[in-house]
């Protein structure tokens, strides 16, 4: 019988910020998304003020002012570093770790049930991460990934658990499922949850007791898998990683509306540079390049325009220079003057393994091996210090860059930003 645990970092972005701000520990704090748009992380005091996950800033502005809520702009450099530290620590503590997102990881503890209490092992994991990295987390342990996620939610919701729930016992599984909303089950979500409730399935336990064949007929094979998982039959393999990302998407809302083609070129070029970097990290070449842009659909007083365009590349590539050139040609083909653009982005898709890329029969120019080398060198330099070598098209001033008014220092990744001690 497999034993899986889900480790989930509590209010991760806020926890990462507060690690270096002992002065704010008991104050309500939130982290805002790109462009300072909505709340994407809240600590317990902020939750207590009724700030909901994903709440747009303008909706909570009054609460922020009245209660002196501390707001942080998203500092992904910091979060990525802290996340990496937590994951590294988990990898030291568990036989096998599958990173699920920036703040969640599954641990494979199969066989460890014979070595002693899983709950006390779980507590040692939580304590170690808190002590060594400084980030609080919760651990849910059970026999399938879906049940481990459920156990984790229980550990988060009920402080009496001390942040660890061992849900390997079927009786306990049923007790927790009976008080869990069906919409909170991993893989169900709000929309399907609503449909299930209309059919009389309102708790996780109702779903567990539903007939799998009936569920498959009326919903999907995915939800049928969830039913089996809730009954302790592991259907989602531990390292169920989609073999390759199907596409890479880089898109942002602009800090200021863009009206000039030259500004838009900078934005698109820099997004594509980022996308190409991600693509090379995946070891892939892309066969399809997409560029899109749009005005603010919510502002009906202004003329509206939205368009996107894609091109299939004859030779899939991961060369920043090729991809940026294509993206700029695509941009020219859909650019229209006289509009104030709010958002633009690029997408790479149709991926091929770099190692199996083929030369065309009628190719004139051979695939440039120096290109691969150049890109590798570029990535290496930029890994040492972000944005050290950039394409001139990316622009230097970047007035279109997103709004990040309350950005914290990069405490762990920049010499100039080290925390101060007296």
């Amino acid at each position: 019988m497999p034993i899986y645990a889900l480790c989930d970092m509590n209010s991760f972005y806020v926890s990462a910020e507060l690690l270096f701000r002992p002065d704010l520990v008991d104050k309500p704090c939130i982290v805002l998304s790109n462009n300072d748009g909505c709340a994407v992380a809240r600590n317990a005091p902020a939750k207590a003020l009724g700030i909901k996950m994903g709440a747009p800033r303008f909706e909570i502005e009054e609460i922020i002012q009245d209660h002196g809520v501390i707001t942080f702009s998203s500092n992904y450099t910091l979060y990525a570093d802290i996340s990496n530290r937590v994951m590294t620590t988990l990898e030291r503590l568990a036989p096998s770790v599958f990173i699920y997102s920036i703040d969640e990881a599954f641990l494979d503890l199969s066989g460890m049930e014979n070595l002693g209490s899983l709950a006390s092992y779980g507590r040692s994991v939580v304590d170690t991460v808190k002590r060594e990295v400084g980030i609080p987390c919760c651990l849910g342990i059970s026999t399938t990934k879906t049940l481990a996620k459920l156990a984790n939610q229980g550990a988060k919701k009920y402080p009496k658990t001390g942040g660890v729930v061992d849900l390997t016992d079927p009786q306990r599984q049923r007790r927790l499922m009976a008080i869990t909303d069906v919409g909170d089950v991993w893989g169900v979500g709000r929309r399907i949850g609503k449909r299930l409730k209309a059919l009389g399935i309102s708790t996780a336990l109702d779903l567990a007791d539903a007939n799998p064949a009936w569920i498959r007929k009326h919903f999907s094979v995915v939800l049928e898998r969830t039913v089996r998982e809730l009954n302790g039959i592991a259907c989602i393999p531990f390292d169920d990683n989609p073999p390759h990302k199907k596409q890479i998407f880089v898109s942002r809302s602009f800090g200021q509306r863009i009206t000039q083609l030259s500004d838009m070129r900078q934005a698109i070029s820099s997004y594509m540079t980022k996308a190409a970097e991600n693509l090379r990290n995946e070891g892939m070449n892309a066969g399809m390049v997409t560029v899109f842009l749009r005005t603010n659909v919510f502002n009906q007083n202004q003329p509206q325009y939205s368009n996107n365009v894609s091109r299939t590349l004859m030779h899939p590539s991961s060369d920043t220079r090729v991809l940026v050139t294509v993206a700029n040609e695509l941009l020219s083909s859909i650019w229209k003057r006289g509009y104030a653009f709010m958002k633009a982005g690029v997408m790479l898709s149709d991926f091929y393994e770099q190692s199996i890329s083929q030369q065309g029969l009628f190719d004139v120019a051979p695939i440039d091996s120096r290109s691969t080398q150049l890109m590798a060198t570029l990535d290496k330099i930029n890994r040492q210090k972000k944005g050290q070598v950039v394409f001139a098209r990316d622009g230097v001033s970047q007035s279109w860059q997103m709004k990040r008014e309350n950005l914290s220092p990069c405490y762990t990744t920049r010499w100039s930003d080290l925390p101060k001690v007296r």
């Binding site: 530290r85 400084g134 007296r422």
Partner: protein, 144 residues
């Protein structure tokens, strides 16, 4: 004086072998049978940061520890995974700010400055000492 051009220098190859390190001291006279064994180049990370995931760096911004040679501008390497002992140099959060002090556990819990102009910080019984970590190394550029 004349010079002869011998060819270009392979900078990569040079940097890989630039600092060979001999792990033994070199005694005059009788050679050690193990002498001359070449190790890889020294990596300061290995010495100062054996546990990267629990190590943070902070910059000193005061003179309260001048007495043991910690000065403003110094970078302190702080390891959170070490259990603090009596006498350790630690970084702690006091009144919402980070401070570096010497930890005293006996006769009572105190954070001791190493400068007469500062008073010890008493940690009252029942209140939590918010330790950030133990200072393991000090980094200072001697030329600024």
């Amino acid at each position: 004086m004349t010079v002869t051009l011998l060819g270009s220098v392979d900078v990569d190859a040079l940097s890989k072998t630039a600092v060979p390190f001999y792990s033994e001291s070199v005694p005059c006279g009788f050679p050690s049978p193990a002498a001359g064994y070449e190790d890889t180049r020294l990596d300061l990370n290995e010495l100062c940061i054996p546990r990267p995931s629990s190590t943070y760096m902070v910059r000193c911004d005061g003179d309260s520890m001048n007495g043991i040679g910690i000065f403003a501008g110094d970078i302190l390497v702080v390891d959170r995974s070490i259990k603090a002992k009596h006498g350790d140099t630690v970084v702690a959060a006091v009144d919402g700010a980070f401070t570096v002090k010497t930890l005293a556990l006996k006769p009572k819990v105190q954070l001791l400055p190493q400068n007469r102009r500062y008073a010890p910080i008493e940690i009252k019984e029942g209140s939590d000492l918010q330790l950030f970590g133990v200072v393991t190394h000090l980094v200072r550029a001697m030329q600024r």
